[in-house]
């Protein structure tokens, strides 16, 4: 029983280390701020939770405290990621979109009249095509 728990903890530790490394690599190689945010926050959340839970499994007396840490990471990391993305968007740093700026769905939250202008442009394009 103890050997099975040790092997499970070791596998979890290795998975956590690999995901922490992938988070650091993604934050270095990604081209955009939003891509960096996504790579650096989600991979690091999984890696940190895995490493801390593996320590709790390898040393069963510490399990409750490591569980508190895991719950804290699961609550705090998405909140900080969301706050950073919101602040970065509100600061004027628009994400790179392949189809053009009208594919930016989050813009409607700040400028409610964007939807009407988008419809007008599409109607204008249709009129030009018919003419």
């Amino acid at each position: 029983m103890n050997d099975i728990l040790d092997i499970f903890g070791m596998i979890l530790l290795l998975i956590g280390g690999i995901f922490l490394f992938l988070g650091g690599l993604g934050i270095f190689r990604m081209p955009d701020t939003y891509n960096r945010l996504q790579a650096g926050t989600k991979a690091t959340t999984l890696g940190g939770m895995s490493v801390i839970l593996s320590v709790g499994i390898l040393e069963p007396g510490w399990f409750i405290k490591t569980l508190v840490l895991v719950i804290f990471i699961a609550l705090a990391n998405p909140i900080s990621s969301h706050a950073l993305a919101h602040a970065n968007y509100k600061r004027g740093n628009k994400p790179y979109l392949k189809g053009g700026p009208e594919y930016d769905q989050y813009r409607k939250v700040f400028e409610p009249e964007v939807k009407e202008t988008k419809d007008n442009t599409t109607e204008k394009v249709k009129e030009e095509e018919t003419a």
């Binding site: 040790d6 070791m10 530790l13 290795l14 956590g16 280390g17 690999i18 922490l20 490394f21 992938l22 988070g23 650091g24 690599l25 934050i27 270095f28 701020t33 960096r36 945010l37 650096g40 926050t41 690091t44 959340t45 890696g47 940190g48 490493v51 801390i52 320590v55 390898l58 040393e59 510490w62 405290k65 490591t66 508190v68 840490l69 804290f72 990471i73 705090a76 990391n77 909140i79 900080s80 990621s81 706050a83 950073l84 919101h86 602040a87 970065n88 509100k90 600061r91 740093n93």
Partner: protein, 86 residues
């Protein structure tokens, strides 16, 4: 067996810390640096918990918890400041 896996995990973690620090130094805007700081905080929390297992000291887990709370509040305050609301 456990020693080798702990060494491999520490190597992965320090490589991640190296790349995050590089982004923290090179980052073009302030938001990139803050993202790198957030990543560094989470990796350092995991590193402190792993070191508490290696050195067999229970107190380092409390240090990791306090460090995580302070890093979380710091990132929130910096994000609030970047928004222009502070």
């Amino acid at each position: 067996m456990l020693n080798i896996i702990i060494y491999i995990t520490l190597g992965f973690m320090f490589t991640g810390i190296f790349f995050s620090t590089l982004r923290f130094i090179l980052g073009p805007t302030a938001a990139d640096r803050t993202v790198a700081l957030d990543t560094l905080t989470t990796i350092a929390m995991a590193l402190l918990v792993l070191l508490s297992f290696v050195y067999n000291r229970f107190i380092y887990i409390d240090v990791a918890l306090v460090y995580g709370v302070l890093g979380f509040i710091g990132v929130l305050v910096i994000a609030r400041y970047l928004e222009g609301a502070l």
